[in-house]
């Protein structure tokens, strides 16, 4: 099953490679990974989307916690959470495709952020599934380029991940 792990870690050189190294060394999957500093510049927040059985996810969480630079780990799937991913997608948009593409972007609440005579670049946020659905919904042949950030996640309501 898909899990979204939220990790608070020291904002130090090498911390990221420890996390990534752990996944490859132990044969765990990384479906996506995002990381950036937080409001506290000494801390980074990382979101890893992974999948595996409950036992595997439990081991991943424990192994992450064991890394000296990791401050906290939570599995967002354990309760209500919000997940967002950003996608930038460049599509061919000529002739009547142009109108159709604009319409699709609107349906998915995307924004066209760059326009040329032949292309649109669309910005889209949502769950990983929603972005996937957009790609499914449009004609594959018109996609020129996609860039996805991977999911970021945050707990709903009062639940926070902080020191």
């Amino acid at each position: 099953m898909k899990h979204i792990l939220s990790i608070l870690l020291e904002n130090e050189a090498g911390a990221l490679s420890r996390v990534v190294g752990l996944f490859s060394a132990r044969g765990y999957n990384i479906d996506s990974l995002t990381v950036s500093t937080t409001e506290d510049p000494t801390l980074s927040r990382m979101t890893i989307v992974t999948h595996g059985s409950d036992d595997v996810i439990e081991q991943i969480t424990k192994q992450l916690n064991k890394l000296i630079e990791v401050v906290k780990v939570i599995d967002l799937n354990e309760s209500e959470h919000i997940e967002r991913e950003l996608m930038l997608i460049k599509v061919r948009a000529t002739g009547k495709e142009r109108e159709e593409m604009k319409r699709m972007a609107d349906i998915f609440r995307g924004r066209i952020i760059d326009v040329t005579e032949k292309t649109y670049t669309i910005e889209l946020t949502g769950t990983t599934e929603k972005l996937g659905a957009f790609i499914e919904a449009i004609d594959r042949a018109v996609i020129l380029e996609t860039v996805r950030t991977g999911a970021s996640g945050i707990g709903r309501g009062e639940r926070i991940l902080k020191i």
Partner: protein, 586 residues
């Protein structure tokens, strides 16, 4: 006053109470070696290969309560150290390894003797640091020692660029460190501890399974009290040997792949298992599904949450330091005055004694060939069971574990998790330096000893009079055994041809060499080697042992704890293993 980074390092090591550091110089650490030259608080031991420096520091730690310290240069010095570091990591041994690095501006430039030490060692250290600023140096050393020895111990590498060792700064050593992202637990959860005691009291077939965590955690006294006060049977893993006295009747011997019949049968058939600082290794419980197919309740005490429920789901996990947790368990037991069902326990012991009476470690004596087991037994007798014993890896290691009864923790030093051939001799050296008055013996094989035989030279220089007991079967015996059992006796590359004259080698290094070829000579030779006359000498004993001997019992890959290959006298068919059908395993 400002001092150099090298001096800061040396002062920091002094602050940590360093007595010995093991190392080898080179360009990147010359500044540090100069600072070492100008101090006399700790001694430096110059090994002959960096791998040996790490093993020696490792065994120095394994045989004492201190953190081992090693120092190597950048590049090849650093990579030579990696096997040693991985060895310590797998067995959870606290080490601080200082490696030199090229100067910071040269990092990433493919500079002379540059390797990414932090990157190379990342998967085999508890933690590592690259110190880029001299201002961080003292605190980093403090952190390194703190991380190495707290929680689940392990090696920590501190990589120091040459310019940092040359820069100047004020020296102030922190009294303590706080790392907000590293807060190891010590006390176990009281509710869980209570549950554990409850389970134990309700047991009909209780069993205590003790591992290296009890040795490292200094909990032998608590383990012994728990086992004795309730009259329970106890087993130790290869790493746990000595945590419970090996000569005690409540001890069933080591368990696992080459464990005793009774220890393995009890492991499979117990109904309540208390695992103490042991990690359900694959060489111990073999196949988890088979192990769990006989229903049992399991309590698992471990300081590392990731050791719990890794291979086996347990009923009562207790995250905490063994010593603390056991103390609290003992208090609860004392306060309640409860004991497990006496009649059931008596039945259980009767069953265990029946297993034990089959005498699985019996072997056929020979007047023609030296039986390797008999050498270990004689060593045990002659050293009064008191020696610190190190070993290498192979059949001899298993015979050492099976036939030398370790009564004290930290008396048996071997590479269990990584299984590193070449560990034994440098380890003996490190143990002797940590325990100058102790008798130290290294049980080795002719294959393993040659992986770090150059350390005979270091032993000469630092007067470490260890006794090398080489069980020379002219084979990579453990490999040969598997080839006999599982590969139709095709002994591919497991025969050691062109062996050197070990007596001459020993003598060339300035030691005493002995070659023992007849069973009748085993005891007298050992007596001589361990006599007062040779107390101050390193004696290399080359025992020509029976080449065909195998280690029994043995659990083959894919088999369960109660499905051991038994020694000939316990087998009904009594056919040699080679002629039996071993299927298509391994």
């Amino acid at each position: 006053m400002q001092i150099s980074g090298a001096e800061i390092l040396v002062r920091s090591l002094q602050e940590e109470g360093a007595e010995y550091i093991f190392g080898y110089p080179g360009g990147a650490v010359l500044e540090i070696y100069d600072a070492i030259f100008r101090q006399n608080q700790f001694k430096h031991v110059l090994v002959r290969h960096e791998q040996a420096a790490i093993h020696a520091a490792d065994a120095y730690s394994r045989s004492s309560d201190k953190v081992g310290i090693a120092l190597v240069t950048s590049g090849p010095g650093a990579t030579n150290a990696v096997t040693g570091i991985a060895t310590a990591y797998m067995d959870s041994i606290p080490l601080v390894v200082i490696s030199g690095q090229v100067a910071t501006p040269a990092i990433g430039m493919d500079a002379f003797q540059e390797v990414d030490m932090v990157g190379i060692t990342r998967p085999c250290v508890k933690h590592n640091f690259l110190v880029k600023d001299i201002k961080d140096l003292a605190e980093t050393i403090k952190k390194a020692f703190y991380i190495a020895k707290t929680g689940r111990p392990g090696p920590v590498v501190v990589d120091i660029p040459k310019d940092v060792t040359q820069a100047l700064a004020e020296f102030a050593y922190p009294d303590s460190v706080h790392i907000r992202s590293y807060l190891p637990v010590t006390r176990g959860h009281p509710g869980q501890i209570k549950k554990a005691v409850g389970l134990l009291m309700g047991a009909k077939r209780p069993y205590i399974y003790v591992g290296g965590g009890a040795v490292q955690g200094g909990a032998a006294a608590e383990v012994t009290e728990l086992v004795r006060s309730l009259g329970l049977p106890c087993t130790n893993t290869l790493m746990g040997l000595g945590a419970y006295p090996g000569s005690d009747p409540q001890f069933l011997g080591m368990l696992g792949m080459h464990g005793t019949y009774e220890a393995n049968m009890a492991m499979q058939n117990c109904d309540v298992l208390i695992a103490i600082g042991a990690r359900f290794d694959d060489r111990v419980i073999s196949v988890p599904e088979h192990f769990l197919s006989s229903p049992k309740k399991i309590v698992h005490i471990d300081v590392d949450p990731s050791s719990i429920a890794k291979r086996v789901k347990v009923d009562v996990p207790i995250v905490g330091d063994v010593k603390h947790v056991l103390k609290e368990m003992l208090e609860l037991i004392r306060a309640s005055g409860e004991r497990p069902d006496a009649a059931a326990l008596a039945d259980w012991w009767q069953q265990i004694e029946a297993w034990r009476s089959r005498d699985c470690l019996l072997y056929k004596p020979s007047s023609e060939f030296i039986k390797p087991q008999s050498v270990v037994q004689a060593l045990y007798e002659i050293t009064g069971g008191n020696a610190i014993v190190t070993s290498d890896v192979g059949q001899h290691q298993m015979w050492a574990a099976q036939y030398y009864k370790f009564d004290r923790p930290k008396q048996w030093l071997n590479s269990g998790g990584l299984g590193t051939m070449g560990f034994g001799l440098p380890a003996a050296m490190g143990a002797q330096l940590a325990n100058p008055d102790a008798t130290v013996a290294c049980i080795t094989g002719e294959g393993s000893i040659q992986m770090n035989i150059q350390e005979l030279s270091t032993c000469k220089q630092y007067h470490t009079p260890v006794k090398v007991i080489s069980l020379n079967n002219r084979y990579l015996g453990m490999v040969r055994q598997w080839q006999e059992f599982f590969y139709g006796t095709r002994y591919s590359e497991s025969y050691m041809d062109a062996l050197p004259d070990f007596v001459k080698i020993a003598e060339a290094y300035g030691h005493v060499g002995m070659k023992i070829e007849s069973p009748a000579d085993v005891e007298p030779a050992l007596r001589e080697a361990f006599s007062a006359k040779l107390k101050e000498r390193l004696v290399f004993m080359d025992f020509r042992t029976d080449q065909s001997e195998n280690v029994f019992p043995m659990i083959r890959n894919g088999k369960g704890l109660d499905q051991m290959d038994l020694p000939p006298h316990m087998r009904e068919d009594d056919a040699p293993p080679a002629n039996r059908d071993y299927g298509n395993l391994c």
